[in-house]
């Protein structure tokens, strides 16, 4: 009975193909848009999350100045480092970070890159893994040894394929260092920057050999990792008030430093994704509502057109509820055809869009299923009124209908 109703529904759709197409366009667009956006959004979020965890997942960075520019804002020093370590609770480890951009040379190969000076626990704080050789040690930091750990990009650019870089010499202006290790590939950072394009040396070495005499003691940034489970927001607050105190800022002066919290960034990203998703939900709701009204409209037209048919069915003994079922099945078939088309279209959009956006296409059965169930529900809800109108027709009146 259901199956028969379904077959007849398909026939009716085929008989009025153009009309059926126009009717379901709303639902097709609604479903396709939502499934595409949600799928791509999820892919993008995953990418960003992975990038953030590349930087280090509960990593705090103390920077001079506000925002990204920090011209004029005072730098940090060793004493800041020590005080934060001693006075702020919840800190697992911290490391100074000094960097400068100079050309690095190995034999004939030159590359302008980021030379980063730090201590050995930076590797743990910033979630670095070793691919070849080793990290440098605390002792090497203390004595300002001429050693470095390089990223994969530097290895490729300076040493080339198939050459073992360990023991190789790199010269950066007045500083000459020996490669002791190569870090495992991290790929892109949160802002699309190449995380493997750097040379990491003991900060003591960098301060002594590369930076000018005047800024010798300057530390550009302080990297802090929180204890797992300890709220990073507390660390941010404590570090901020400590630094304000050390810098003698009065209550109406703004911070001349900032604390970047990777966890907060992750939260911000996922909450903005949530906002996007709920916004999309509304857009979807509206377009599905419009689609549903389209279906209701066309089903009412269909009931009028097929009044005689309904009359015949009732006259030969079909029950009202059988007629109701027939029209309901037709409405649901129509809306499901729309839903399935929308899902298929979304699949195409996602495959094309994933490359354009640079996010992976993570096929999510759940959102597809939800979209399908939703479109079926639209058919039931908006098909019910026309179907009931059909079922309540008087057979004689219906038969007389021209």
């Amino acid at each position: 009975m259901f199956f028969n109703a379904f077959i007849i529904a398909l026939r009716e759709i085929r008989r009025n193909l153009t009309r059926a197409f126009l009717t379901v366009v709303g639902i097709v667009i609604g479903v396709a848009a939502v499934v595409t956006m949600v799928t791509l959004g999820r892919g993008a979020t995953e990418v960003v999350k992975a990038q953030i965890s590349n930087i280090g997942s509960n990593l705090l960075i103390l920077r001079p100045g506000q925002g990204w520019g920090h011209s004029g804002a005072p730098m940090f020093n060793k004493s800041d480092l020590r005080t934060i370590k001693d006075q702020v609770p919840g800190i697992h480890a911290l490391a100074p970070f000094v960097n400068t951009n100079v050309p690095a040379v190995h034999l004939d190969n030159v590359r302008n890159t980021d030379i980063q000076g730090t201590t050995s626990n930076y590797f743990e704080i910033a979630n670095w893994k070793i691919a070849m050789g080793r990290f440098f040690t605390d002792a090497e930091v203390l004595e300002g040894a001429s050693v470095c750990v390089i990223g994969e990009t530097i290895r490729k650019e300076l040493f080339g394929k198939g050459v073992d870089p360990i023991g190789g010499k790199i010269r950066c202006k007045g500083m000459s260092v020996v490669v002791v290790g190569v870090t495992a590939v991290k790929g892109q950072g949160g802002f699309g920057d190449d995380l493997d394009d750097n040379i990491i040396v003991p900060y003591t070495t960098l301060q002594r050999r590369l930076t000018g005499q005047a800024k010798k003691d300057n530390i550009n940034q302080i990297m802090i990792s929180g204890e797992t489970g300890y709220p990073t927001a507390n660390i941010v607050a404590d570090v901020s008030s400590l630094m304000r105190e050390r810098r003698g800022l009065t209550h109406n002066e703004e911070n001349n430093f900032s604390v970047f919290d990777s966890l907060q960034l992750a939260d911000a990203i996922s909450s903005s994704t949530r906002v996007m998703t709920s916004l999309l939900g509304w857009v979807a709701g509206v377009s599905l509502l419009v689609g549903g009204i389209g279906i209701m409209n066309i089903m009412l037209v269909s009931v009028t057109e097929r009044t005689r048919e309904i009359g015949i069915r009732l006259a030969i003994g079909a029950r009202a509820r059988e007629v109701l079922l027939q029209f309901l099945v037709e409405a649901v078939t129509l809306s499901c055809v729309g839903g399935v088309t929308g899902i298929a279209l979304a699949y195409v959009f996602c495959s094309l869009g994933a490359e354009a956006v640079g996010a992976p296409f993570l096929f999510d059965p759940k959102i597809n299923l939800i979209a399908f169930v939703f479109s079926a529900a639209i058919g039931i809800i908006f098909g019910f009124m026309p179907a009931r109108r059909a079922a309540s027709l008087d057979p004689i009146e219906a038969l007389r209908h021209e």
Binding site: M1, I316, G317, L399
Partner: protein
Amino acid sequence: MIPRATPPPPTATGVVFEARKLRKVYHTGELDVVALHGVDLELNAGELVCLLGASGSGKSTLLNILGGLDVPTSGELIYKGWQLDGSREETLTLFRRNCVGFVFQFYNLIPSLTARENVALITGISLDPMTSEEALEMVGLGARMDHFPSQLSGGEQQRVAIARAIAKRPEVLLCDEPTGALDVTTGITVLEAVERINRELGTLTVVITHNAVMSEMADRVLYLSDGKIVNSHRNETRLPASQLKW
């Protein structure tokens, strides 16, 4: 009351319909139209009855009431001992579904279904149907089963409608001007189909016509005028439908 599942068993003889003082009044606005004016009637199993009368004399109204499509305003209507007047719509639906086959003037097939599927509309919902194929064979359309109504001539469409009506093996076959929209030759093929059903299945058959010639194929002819049966006569012999001329 008609029982829910099983209709009364078909009987070869005996009274099928018994109507007394049937009245039907249509209320349209301020005007009351009296379509039936006290009809008394008895129809027996296996009979082929012709209803003759001018247009507007109440033939369709009477047929619709007999078939449970419409209800009388007053009067009594007994179907094999079951009182039909005053029945609930649900009961009438079951009566139509299980006991009555209808054929209308305008074939009234569903255009999106093939001949076979149009007939299957009935075989799908009735108690002891013949197959669509059997029914279509009986009206001589065995070869056209998978054609859509638009691919069939008027006479062929009407024969599909007859096949649909009789596929449920109804106790009663009611035809409202089945040849009204057809030319003579095709009209005769349709009447032959009706005659064959009546003869082979023993189905009580009522055929409305306003063409007196057609009444020669009937056992009995009832004349309606102004909502009353004004005359009736019994034919000594039935003329085969194929020999009708008009």
